[in-house]
């Protein structure tokens, strides 16, 4: 299965060439266009109960679509927002994704819901995070450009700018500065990550976009 991420990082989309027997699973609504030889099968994502939990607490949809073909065909997958897409080949390792980041994966990848903790809810990131593990490729995306950082000690990230992180990363919520500064600076609560491990960040945040838009509205 040939895959290519096009138009990074502005309007990233995935172009997939499927052959007989190839399968790819994608979030509902991810299909932009495709050859007529591609079949779509709708499935509950990760089991019924997990799917409901995801819907209530995360922002992934209840359903995923499985794309396959008996001959060959081309498929273009996209996201609802402008931004970047990254592809990671899992080899038995695990990655945690923020809500809304999951886009597509090979059927050998396991999707699960992990408890992100009340702290993450306070940081407006949602109670749950998506856990991807197993083997195979997973595609995730975010609003903004995506870049990685290897963390060895501690690093401070504005919560809306964190996309994904390895399980070895310790995640804590803290204040950006002193009490007065945290509130008045507009930075508020931040996420303090401690390594060793890798994090993926995005160079824009939905919260920042909403704030910019709201500053022009009355």
């Amino acid at each position: 299965m040939e895959t290519e991420i096009r138009n990074k990082p502005s309007f990233a989309n995935i172009r997939i060439k499927l052959g007989p027997g190839d399968r790819v699973i994608a979030e509902a609504d991810a299909m932009a266009s495709m050859s007529s030889t591609i079949d779509i099968k709708t499935m509950w994502s990760g089991g019924f109960l997990r799917a409901v939990l995801k819907r209530v607490f995360g922002s992934e949809s209840l359903f995923v679509n499985e794309f396959s073909t008996e001959s060959e065909g081309e498929l273009i997958l996209t996201q609802p927002f402008p931004g970047d897409i990254e592809c990671l080949e899992l080899k038995g390792n695990t990655l945690y994704l923020q809500p809304g980041a999951f886009l597509a994966c090979e059927p050998t990848v396991r999707l699960g819901v992990g408890w992100a903790g009340l702290r993450m809810l306070i940081a407006r990131e949602g109670l749950f995070r998506l856990k991807v593990s197993g083997t195979g490729r997973v595609w995730f995306g975010a609003y903004g450009g995506i870049f990685q950082r290897e963390i060895s000690d501690e690093y401070v990230v504005d919560s809306g700018h964190l996309v994904a992180y390895e399980p070895s990363i310790n995640v804590r919520i803290g204040m950006a500065g002193g009490i007065f500064s945290s509130f008045f600076s507009g930075e508020g609560l931040v996420t303090k990550v401690t390594g060793p491990g890798r994090i993926y960040m995005q160079s824009r945040s939905f919260g920042g976009l909403a704030a910019w838009t709201n500053s022009h509205l009355w």
């Binding site: 096009r6 990233a12 609802p80 927002f81």
Partner: protein, 227 residues
């Protein structure tokens, strides 16, 4: 007229260079910057101001009382930079006597010699996540500029191709098309997210956009101040 498309695929702007007497018509608000040697007019009703016929202007702007701007260079080598409303791509399509069907919000500008008909109803009441779409039929010869939400990618259809209706930018009218459901089962189509799709067949070129505005609007909207 010379052109150059800058900052693709998301912040695209078209920089046009016009010689004395050359003109271009675009949507009001599309002008970003220009040199000083231009005559600017507002065109209304059915006159393109430079020879092109424009039909269905009112529908084109969803019933709002907006107009078109018509720029004519009065000196040599005048530059005009235009851009669309949303983040997205721009491409140039050279019309050579054929017909191109363009999604309503994807028409950016056209030169003299191109007729614009916004009353075309060939795709029926195609819905775009609940909003009805409209289409503009462009015919004639000259420079046409299209914009999108997302990156524009061309598909040369030779058999059959399926596009989510919100992702169509434009298509040559040599193509046949049919609105239908994405997959065979009703559950799949309705709940699986892929709503209505357009199945193109025949031979011709189709322009698609990688993203669609309503999906983005629905995600961002709830975070904004109420109306």
């Amino acid at each position: 007229m010379q052109y150059e498309i800058l900052a693709r695929p998301a912040a695209s702007a078209a920089r046009l260079t016009l010689q004395a007497g050359e003109s271009i018509t675009c949507e009001v608000g599309a002008m970003i910057a220009m040199s000083s040697g231009f005559n600017v007019e507002t065109t209304t009703r059915n006159k393109g101001g430079g020879g092109g016929i424009v039909k269905g202007l009112k529908r084109m702007f969803a019933g709002e009382n907006l107009f078109l701007n018509h720029f004519t260079a009065t000196q040599p080598n005048q530059t005009l930079i235009i851009g669309p409303g949303l983040l997205g791509d721009i491409i140039h399509y050279p019309m050579r006597g054929g017909t191109l069907i363009v999604q309503g919000s994807s028409w950016l500008a056209s030169a003299t010699g191109i007729d614009i008909d916004a009353t075309w109803q060939g795709l029926g009441k195609a819905l775009f996540s609940g909003e009805s779409m409209f289409w503009v039929k462009c015919s004639g010869a000259g420079d046409l500029f299209l914009n999108s939400f997302g990156a524009i990618y061309p598909v040369d259809v030779t058999g059959q191709y399926v596009v989510d209706t919100g992702h169509i930018v434009a298509f040559e009218d040599s193509l046949e098309f049919r609105i239908g459901k994405a997959s065979k089962s009703l559950v799949g189509s309705f709940l699986g997210g892929e709503g209505l799709v357009c199945k193109f067949s025949g031979q011709g070129r189709l322009y698609c956009q990688s993203h669609n505005p309503p999906s983005f609007g629905k995600l961002l909207g709830p975070k904004l101040k109420p109306r």
